[in-house]
Amino acid sequence: MSPLTRHPRKIGRPVIMLLHLNLFRTAFSKRFTYLIAVLGLSLLATILPVSPITPVGVVRAQPGITATVDRTTLALDEYLELTVTISGDVLDISGPDVSGLTDFKVIGSSVSTQVSMANGNLTAQGSYIYRLRPLREGDLIIPPFSVEVDGQIIQTEPIEIVVTAGSSPAVEPDAGVPSTEAPASLEGQNFFVDAEVDDLRPYLGQQIVYTFRLYQAANFLGQPDYQPPPFIDFWGQTTLSQPNYRTQAAGRDYLVTEIRTALFPANVGLVTIAPAKFVIPGGLFEPDIILDTEPITVDVRSWPDDAPPDFNGAVGQFQISARLTQTEGKVNEPLTLFIEIEGAGNIDVLSEPPLPAMPAWRAFDSKVSTTSEVREDVVYGTRTFERLIVPSQPGVQSLPPISFSYFDPQIGAYTTVQTDPIPVTVLPGDAEPPVAPITGSDQQPISVVGGDIRHIKPVPAALRSPGAVVLFNPLYWICWILPALVAGGLWIFQKQRLRILSDSAYARSLRARRVAQANLAEARRLTGRESYARTHRVLLGYLADKLNRPTVGLTTEALTNLLTEAQLTPALIERIRITLDQIEIGRFAPIEEVAAQTLVTETQTLIGELEKAFGEPR
């Protein structure tokens, strides 16, 4: 398993609370995490009811101590890993005493503590890992470690170590992976990353391997996160192997994990691979550790100029083959031609090799399929082009060779391979010529190659100038006013109409003069007493309408009071009274036609003045 996923979090299982805490050498961190674990589990123990059922698969740690080493033979300049595992009561457990390691120098240590609770009991198991470097050659002894657990003294067996002079092959987790020289800047760091590519001057389309390397001298607190760079100028980011191995630098042993990615440059010139990022989560009070690689600049070379005519961008090492579904067919009956290109390189982008001239055949659009795999960090694959070809003439024919050119970056030259001719026997057929299958559209976006102004306009039908600005034409503003006047007039009219309909006094007052004028005209045509009587009714009726009173019972005295209330002038009231008296006299005196007509005229004049005096209808 990769160290990147070595310690997944396992917190939160029901019933069994298991905390797997990886602690660094930092004293504060170790004690604090331990304390948190103990306090948390103690709290849970008080909250949760003790389960009467013993959980399956949980083995309570028995008190004891063991010591193991990862190798018993090593060279003088190498390191070994000693692991002392102590289990017992959570409160009594303590680390081993390594002061007896006189033949070795402790150059590093780490602690992994596992605290578990089952059936209400807290137990702990601590794994103390020491990196030891031998101080001399010969047969050395790692002395027994003793520890007091639950009041008992328990000790391990001594371990014999054979130390030879010079160097011996290092023990590597992944055999066959060469150890990489660690950067000098590793000194004093628990984690370090770097990145490189295997070829800084590749050809366009040539596979290169981007290697991200993590140097690790301590365990992670949580799940780390690798964020690869955005390979903008490359395509085909195929993840290759992820080997790990050990290396030493600055007196420390580092576990190195590589993440390799196959890249194919897509642009010519200097292209830069942005830094990769590796995030290691921190503890409760420790920030995350964020590691960045350096950017890498790659100088991508273009292909040589002497490319064969059928070269279409294939880079690598390829072979081509072709076959037919059957070597015998009929005229106008399709056969399927498979063209396979197999090899190492940018297999996913290979274009179909052009078919040679085949006058006795018709070819239709093809289907493409690709399979790829990784062999020893090289992308291999097979790209298959499937074409329908239809013979149009009977006889023994031969499909001509199909050639395919690629650029081989290993030799820096173009290579052309071709298929063998395929003999085909075509029998006369009776089928109608096949209809070309409808395949995907070949539409392409329009590419503008030049811009120019739009062309001149033809002579218009009427070459006229625009009219003058209407804003300066009085008629325009009259057109604004007219609708407003009409709308305003209609509004007043409607308002008046509604008032007449709803206010009878107003309606009587409004029509009083009109009615009086009509009746006076009638009185003028009458003679004698009838004329006086009509004039009397006209004047009284007019006044009754204006005052909104009934005519009946309207005596001169009452009329005078009402007119006074209506705030008519005393002179006018007196004149009304005199006119009414004269009419009364005339009705009962000897008839004088001239006097009657004069009185009608006087009444008419009086009504005119009264109309002004009453003013706006109340």
Binding site: R454, H455, I456
Partner: protein, 276 residues
Amino acid sequence: MKGNYQLSISNCQSLDKSFILALVIFLIIASLALAQSPSSPAEVMLVANQRYEIGNYDEAIAGYEAIIAAGVRNSDVYYNLGNAYFKQGDMGRAILNYRRAQQLDPPDADIAANLALARTQTVDKLEVPPEGVLINIVEIAEEWLTLNQAALLALGLWFLMCVAFVVAIFQPRWRRLSAGTMAILAILLLIGLMSMANRLYKETQSPPAVIIAPQVDVTSGPGGGDQYLVEFELHAGAEVRLLESRIGWRRITLPGNLEGWVPGEAVEPVIDQAQN
């Protein structure tokens, strides 16, 4: 015409023969002049277009300018004239005439396209500061309507508002609908009126103009660089606004609060006097 001359001669036997001869010559010249009467603007434009088609832009320009000098203000003529200047590489006059064409026919896509292309060919990059939303709405109306169209549209909206008002008076059931209609019409009318007012204000207070000189120094006063400080320089096609005119000099302003004086012949207002 010639028969009339002979008739005149027969009726005027007593006149001096030399005078009659002079009169005949005059009338013949006059008749020839009448026979070669000036072509109509449409015919001139047809010829100018033909000259343009064969790449004779000088004659095309002369033709279009003659039409304009005859008092014809037509967007197609200005547009074609702008094209001819564009082909000659005179971006100042090209932009000037595209702008004049656009004044007469704001929504024309060809004018807008060529104007935009011509603007990319100018030397001076003028940064127009972003305007408020209301100003943008008002100026959108300017991009689509001429002043007369906007005025007539506003009148139409006003008429519809009055109709909606009358409907509201006489049909109480439709009063709510009428009120909503009036509100919408009022908003549109307000925008239209603001657009007109804005356009009138700009065209009267700071009318648009275009630099037509290939390069001109903008000075701090109405005089040359030896008299006033040269503040900056402009090139053909720069679109400015006129603030003031004095004899031989015009005061201009640009976006970005730039101001100065340029020789009168270096800048041409978009709205020529006849068009105005």
